[in-house]
Subunit: 436 residues, 3 copies
């Protein structure tokens, strides 16, 4: 019972957008973030927001701004390791350096993956000042053989500046808010997280095209410090968040994986629990744990927001994770489109779930007289539509929502919602309260 339809043209567009932002060297601050937001703003008007270095945010403080222009290890003028070829080569948030040193002095600043000797690891040193290079393990031996002296240059700045993020609010009929957030702090890693950024931009574009029952807020934020900053600035307003989703790593072939909110049974959790078994045979639904992406902050005990995480392969479970192997060959347009379709469907459930009241609750109302009952010899679809109507009538007791009804009936939410609308038009049910 696949209910989502995967849009191939959209998949291509998602891939192209991810590819376009792939080369930019992003970090938790700096111009890479600004440039990425500006590109995505062509799809939906994301606003660039900033707070200065040193701003206290909850238990943390906004760090210095990092910008990098170049970086290399050279010998005799020949670049052996070159930031311009792959921005993963420089330890993200490296302090600047410009010196000449032997291999033995250099080697404590070199990071490799001995288990995957041909790929470049992605490493950061955000809150502990350090400099370094990430290289393939095979190249380490090569440098050792050369011995030096090496010219070691990182042309970067780490200075007071700003923390930057993108934000876009789409008002709806209700102030109740669906929060959609993704991290913007990773450099040239395709799945993690050019894929998520592209998905957010195109999803925002689509949702902007029609009226919305609820408000949507999109965040493109640096991991950890970005969500902490946003939470610190918006503490008073988080009560409006009825559901939230962290989106990341949505382009690979695995999963998909849904990680529940800390509360575990909120509307967003139940929406994905409804959608995934129908639309993603290989899916996994896992419980919350306090590690991973920004759900850690949204689900900290002082906020405890109803925010889940959607990914394809779970982070840190595949060899390409946080390496140069997470490149544009690792993501595919079909997976991007599938991720998009699933998230879009779950959002549709979240925004349209509601509780109805049966106006003829004693016995069944006579559907045949109102032309609502399927004919003799009806198709399987007519049968399912009839069952959906009977279920809506039976559970429209002011205590069950349409999602409750769909789950208990074993029918897709959308079918139940469609027949509920038919019954509402026929005057047989009415909403318990305003739509959510």
């Amino acid at each position: 019972m696949q209910a989502v339809s995967v849009n191939h043209a959209l998949g291509e567009e998602l891939y192209e957008l991810a590819a376009r932002i792939f080369p930019i060297c992003r970090s938790i601050t700096g111009d890479g973030v600004r440039r990425t937001i500006d590109i995505l703003a062509a799809y939906a008007p994301f606003e660039r927001k900033e707070v200065p270095t040193g701003t206290p945010v909850l238990d943390w403080e906004v760090p210095k701004e990092w910008n990098i222009r170049d970086g290399y290890i050279a010998k005799d003028g020949k670049r052996l390791v070159d930031f311009r070829r792959c921005n993963l080569h420089v330890l993200n948030y490296s302090t600047p350096i410009n010196t000449i040193m032997s291999f033995s002095d250099l080697k404590t600043h070199l990071f490799t993956l001995p288990d995957q000797p041909t790929v470049i690891p992605y490493r950061t040193s955000y809150y502990h000042e350090n400099w370094g290079f990430c290289i393939a393990h095979d190249q380490l031996g090569e440098l050792e053989r050369l011995g030096g002296p090496f010219e070691v240059v990182i042309d970067a700045s780490l200075e007071p500046g700003h923390l930057t993020w993108g934000e876009y609010v789409l008002p709806g009929r209700s102030k109740r808010e669906v929060l959609l957030t993704t991290h913007i702090c990773h450099p040239s890693l395709a799945n993690d997280n050019c894929s998520g950024l592209a998905l957010m931009a195109l999803l925002a574009r689509e949702l902007a095209r029609s009226e919305r029952p609820v408000t949507y807020r999109f965040l493109l934020i640096p991991g950890t410090i970005g969500s902490l900053t946003w939470l610190a600035l918006n503490e008073a307003a988080v009560g409006n968040i009825m559901a939230g989703l962290v989106v990341s790593c949505v382009g690979d072939a695995g999963g998909p994986t849904y990680k529940r909110s800390r509360r575990g049974d909120t509307l967003v959790d139940r929406a994905f629990a409804h959608v995934l078994p129908q639309d993603a045979p290989g899916h996994r639904i896992i419980d919350f744990f306090p590690y991973g992406y920004d759900e850690r902050q949204f689900c900290s005990p002082g906020f405890n927001l109803p925010v889940g995480l959607f990914q394809r392969s779970q982070f840190a479970t595949y060899p390409q994770y946080h390496t140069s192997g997470d490149d544009l060959d690792f993501i595919k347009s079909e997976h991007l489109a599938h991720s998009y379709a699933i998230i879009r469907r779950a959002i549709g459930i979240i925004e349209s779930d509601r509780v109805l009241v049966n106006l003829f609750p004693k016995g069944e109302p006579q559907l045949g007289r109102r032309g609502l009952y399927g004919k003799l010899g009806g198709t399987a679809d007519a049968w399912r539509a009839n069952m959906a109507m009977l279920w809506v009538l039976n559970l429209a007791d002011g205590e069950h929502s349409l999602l409750d009804t769909a789950e208990r009936a074993g029918l897709p939410f959308e079918l139940v919602a469609r027949l509920a609308a038919v019954l509402e038009q026929a005057g047989l049910v009415r909403p318990k309260a305003e739509a959510l």
Copy 2:
């Protein structure tokens, strides 16, 4: 651990009674219902109750009364399809007709089962006036070859009259009521539902023979419109219903199947959940869904009564369902007797479950001093009796009923109830309140 004993003589009597009412052409109104009630009234004094056509009942209205005397398709005076040979041949609730027509005009009024070409389907058209014949699919080809002209006669009346049902109340010490109900609207279908009607009559006869702790109400009602009518007339009194059971299709070899009430965990649900695993290895217990028999009405959200459904094979899951294949060979006396025994046992649990209070709750009372403790080297039965006593004492805290105790102890309810009576006589426990 089979606890019910199946009574073979009773099985024969059930079969004979089902066979006796089998030939009558019943519908949701009319003389077939009246004649059936009169036959069953020889076993227990079911009262014939009626309301006139046009009476509003909840969202519905009592329809015209239908009676039929004859019906046939003939050619050259020879009856090819004959109501007198099988009353399924006439579409139930057909309007009268008396005409001559060709096959091509006739054929839209002929109903067959292409997948089962030798059997006659059972079809109705209660709330949409129409006429028609139900025939074996093989005969359709034969009529087509003959081509006509055919004499087409349905000697029926569809006129203002009454809706009729049977009702019998057996008062008990408590006004709390067990509702037992079955449908009386089907013509010559043995399992569906001559079997249920026969079972209800003999069960009423048995329950009338001794004092009852609770009141029993038996209903023999036309499907849907009958329960709607009864509910409309008895709306104020339904609060007395502590448990209810829709009984239908109790003579075939399948199941048995118990379908839970909408609430899912009421006393009748728990009684069958206790009995069936012990007494019916092939049983199925399924959740409520808003389709099926009159549990649809009793479990509509405005009533939400604790009413389940007992059947053998689940309706619509066997090829004989609603066809001439549901004849007197399809039901067996042994299945009738087994169904009877299971329902009888479940009723026994429902009427005798109660909550006790241990009068010596601190430590165990000394059973040996009171002669209550099994002797050394006791048999397995003595052991089970001892365990039943210890469980009753341990759970007689005013919060657990005997059924709770039996379930937690893994012992048959009747053993637990018997030892509870022993403990009550010994002054060790007392009822928390009057028996239910």
Copy 3:
């Protein structure tokens, strides 16, 4: 993930102590109990407590005191059955006798196990005055062949006296109390219960060596009448019991088996549910039932205390149970030490479980700044320690205890508790209230 360490020297010491008290003929009253307490008092100062015969205790009464000096069946002055060789030979609580009789008069006073013809059964007749001998079934035939006359002597006394038990209270910082209790009424049966008595003595010795957050109470009591007596005398104080454990039969190779308290989900139940899967691959956790050891009395509905039972093989499930087969070869030092380690660990959880409050609940506090975060490339242990910290912070919402946290995190309690202490020292969490 084995967390307990088994101490071999302690196992030897347990075995030797069990062997030392093995020869004593104990019963529910009498000098055997007194002598056993005196031996165990060398390890921990158990106090001998007594109440006189005839004292009413709840629904019971303290029985006469039984003491035995000798007992035999002889022919021609030659002892054929001799209490001095095995104290199981005399029916425990036998009235005295000194007579000469034929086999046919004697035989109703002889107890054997036909299914195990070479072992002597252990039988008692506490509350019904009787005399008798327990012998191997093979010997029954031998006596029958000899025919008699037999000299039949039981040199015992059954007279007004006292009921005796051992009690030892180890005060802790809190009055909340952990009750540890074992039965002292069995004669020469090694597993049932010299093993339990030895374990209690050495456990009391260990717990006395350091400060305790909670109070411990050790009881060495005659089965049933001992717990009833203690409960009758301490009724007002049982509210202090936060957890309790009946310990018995802890030296055989089976299980171990944990039987839940009547409530089923108290702290002691949850502690064993945490420990056993990690430390005892063959363990079984079973629900409460009102038969067995003194948990029957502690879990009677009027007390309903949080008291479970720890054994190795479940009682009455092994052929040596209550026979001369339960000798010093049936228990092993390694099983005694394993039982000790498991109980010790569970107690450690019980006494140190507590609820914390995160003082920085909004977002994660910055662990790195405080030097709390694991370094890059940390080992699996560092990873687990980090996860434990994050879990403690996430669930320190005043509603989850450390055991809740350990269970949800899938980490050993002790690791979680250790990191909780680190976080407390760092000023990130504080106890919700005084430690339990």
